[in-house]
Subunit: 226 residues, 2 copies
Amino acid sequence: MTGSNLLLVSEPSAEINLLTHTLSAKGFNVKLLNQFSDSLKFIEDQNPGIILLDTLNKNVACFELCFLIKSNNFTRNMQVLILSDDQDEKTEIDAFTAGADDFIIRPLRPKAVVQRILTRLNSNSQVISIKPNNKTNTRLRIDKESYTVYLNNELVHLSKKEFDLLHLLGSSSGKVFTRDEIFEKVWKRKASLNDRTIDVHVRRLRKKLGEHFISTQKGIGYRFNS
Amino acid sequence: MTGSNLLLVSEPSAEINLLTHTLSAKGFNVKLLNQFSDSLKFIEDQNPGIILLDTLNKNVACFELCFLIKSNNFTRNMQVLILSDDQDEKTEIDAFTAGADDFIIRPLRPKAVVQRILTRLNSNSQVISIKPNNKTNTRLRIDKESYTVYLNNELVHLSKKEFDLLHLLGSSSGKVFTRDEIFEKVWKRKASLNDRTIDVHVRRLRKKLGEHFISTQKGIGYRFNS
DNA sequence: CCATTTGTTCACATTGAGTTAATCAAAGCT
DNA sequence: AGCTTTGATTAACTCAATGTGAACAAATGG
């Protein structure tokens, strides 16, 4: 797993330091914030796949943030894990009610936390939510299960091949896919020389979604802008 | 948990704030309006499953709105709960006469309100009400319990399979259902190659409902337009 | 038992997704 | 610069997927 963004909202402490190190060592790109209030903006801008929310003894604020995340089409598929000091069953129920994906009670065991995160990540491989180059305000949500793509909350109609191609590129945004790779995975055949099939499909995607989502890496292939 | 839309018509206050939070924490998507006059449009556009009407000391206006909601085929299955300051038995009777589903007297106890709402919701889980692509003004109401479908307030007669198919598609509007998925859920059997059964049923639905409700995703399946 | 409704199959028509081809534009290279 | 390679773009073609009307079969209801 390469460098997924992870947001950890908590206050610095020896325990949190250790957790942060463990996560970094596992390849996560960890951002630590110490307030709920700043978090939503970060979440919308950076699209972390995983969000760890320490309740910070402010359950209501914490759960409200969680609920906001889960209320938005573009963030609801991020995995939210709540960290709590509190063993009270009611708190846990409230957390799940607010839409949390997991609830972890202190003391933290970093490796166990990592394990839970990995489980969460795998359970949710089919939805991609992207806000490209911070310049633009457009956003894309690609949902493999329901075969739907939303551009700024509006449903975009894509054909099967268009969808498969977009999903492939979006599944590792930033990565450059070679033509061979794309042919193999979407068309399940070898590229023949002078075959413009991919170009045409990229063109159609660009026409439907806008020009800035897919960029060309001349001589190599295409990438989805993260 | 449900993420159902809920409309609360009242005036901002500490009490209403607390209620709103509690509802949000329960997973409701709460919209707060402070006038009856704006509400009907919201109700028609957003199809909230639950409507909380504070009388705002204007019983007549409040009950009239309630009556309008209950007079319309597309909104009558929304659950209307009246919030009142007034302990007068007559007021309560008037509320129920106007079609209210529940009557709650202040002071509000948020958890108790939530409990009443959940009870109401469960009693009425199988109605789908849809207003497709803002272009058109046609509306569909699919009522699982009574196996009836209304198109623009007119009863449409559907056979069992037609109804089941429509209900399946409508239950996740926007999602593309594959042919396999449809066969499995509606016909409870595997699709055999070159089986046109689904096509024919889709065709009959389109003939009865109009062309714009169900769209084809070539190579994949069908979707209900949200 | 017949009449009617509902579900499925068949045969042919139509559509549109996917591909190919042809031409133009841009980037790389010597 | 001039030549070569690669990608963009548009139009046209092809064929599998779907639409469609009618016939047939099965279930339902008096």
